[in-house]
Symmetry: C2
Subunit: 257 residues, 2 copies
């Protein structure tokens, strides 16, 4: 079997959001990522080298509509990676109902304009680690189906649901007793606060932080202390790093199940 | 003034480690990064647009051997960035004495084969935030002077010293009472441990973790709990994310100055 020119063109076209959106699909590449997503999302097309199939996979058991065995050279022509891996697959984008009541029962993240696909994917990966299952993203946040974002999730996208929705509207529908956290330079040292096991943690844009419209709606302002504490510094933390440090502290304080 | 063809070629050649090493220099781009490094490292060449000079900079005050005002188009020809910024500069690589006695007095990091330049730069940035001033890197760790690594430091490289040296030899010279930490799936939950204010925290390669030779020399094995704790998961954390979570906990426990 082989990949037609048209199919290669189709796969490569999924680098662009407008094409992914029009088709309602996304591309995943590599053994770990494709392996984690198979069975979680409907797979429309899987292309892999003989080596990949020989590594214990049997096409008869693979939940994919179309399965093509290709040479490494052919895979490289379809791949968007600098170093193509032995397998790539096209999956259907999942459609989730956006149920904001989860925020009253569990810890959720909100991303207010995170721009870098790598940061977004890394945040999904760490959310999975910390058992955070829902992430609400402002419409100007990067697209999780961007191939770079997808690679950075390392499969975490199989367990974490992303909802793109205007954050001010979302927060205004929450009850006033729902904690909405954000980190600010003038917030309270988070290690001195009793952190909730439910609610929303808002993280902002790489350069500009949380937008003014969303900032106004945050009712718990936190600060991640640097060290030595209070040291004057021009430095800052990458948004995925800050998200990780905050989530780790919420989970450290939480009674485990 | 203008950048000669040869100079543009020279600047672009600094994408490669062998050229950076032969010249003993590195390239930095962008307002924030160049601004943070000027005055910290000897600057051999600074090229910027009229807009950059107009934003409050005066060439007479700039500590650079050679200063060139260039058009945006010309800067774009020299730049290694997808989206060139208004300024780039060539700095001399600093040479630090490698004094391992700092490990007995302060908290230091060791990186055992961190491959991704973005991860390395992000680790330098967060080390700066947490007041960690020395990072010991195995020779197969990415080069901090890689332009992508340098961009990711966001200037943190001005306050953090990197030492490339074989880690097994380094650790074997340390006194047996010096704590050498590493994270392992079978380590002890770090939240139950009393963490030191000095010693070495070893972080490993993205895919393979800490090498066997270094693992054997680690005398404090830690584990970063996921949530719910002990949940079976195929997931993992990005190395920069794991470094941040570990460093945050060390600094949370430390008496501040």
């Amino acid at each position: 079997m082989t990949l037609s020119k048209n199919k290669i063109k189709y796969i490569r076209s999924l680098e662009l959001k407008k094409n992914r959106k029009a088709e309602g699909v996304f591309l995943a590449e590599g053994h770990k990522l494709v392996g984690d997503l198979l069975g979680h999302f409907p797979c429309l097309l899987l292309a892999a080298t003989p080596e990949w199939f020989a590594s214990g996979k049997h096409s008869s058991q693979l939940p994919a509509d179309e399965i093509v065995e290709v040479s490494e050279e052919e895979l490289a022509r379809a791949s968007l990676l600098k170093t193509p891996q032995q397998v790539l697959a096209v999956f259907r984008q999942p459609v989730y109902p956006t149920d904001t009541s989860v925020i009253g029962r569990s810890l959720c993240l909100a991303l207010d304009g995170v721009q870098d696909p790598g940061n977004l994917g890394t945040i999904v990966r760490l959310a999975d680690w910390f058992g955070i299952e829902d992430i609400f993203c402002s419409p100007n946040t990067a697209d999780i189906y961007n191939p770079k974002a997808m690679q950075a999730t390392m499969g975490g996208i199989a367990h974490v649901k992303l909802h793109y929705t205007p954050l001010p509207d979302l927060i205004q529908t929450l009850g006033a007793d729902i904690p909405v956290y954000g980190t600010f330079l003038d917030g309270k040292n988070m290690y001195g606060e009793t952190l909730s096991t439910h609610g929303l943690i808002v993280m902002g844009n790489e350069g500009n932080g949380i937008s003014p419209e969303v900032s106004r709606l945050i009712n718990r302002r936190l600060y991640i202390p640097n060290f030595p504490a209070g040291r004057e510094t021009a430095e800052s933390l990458n948004v995925a790093i800050a998200t990780a440090i905050v989530c780790a502290e919420f989970r450290r304080q939480a009674p485990s199940l």
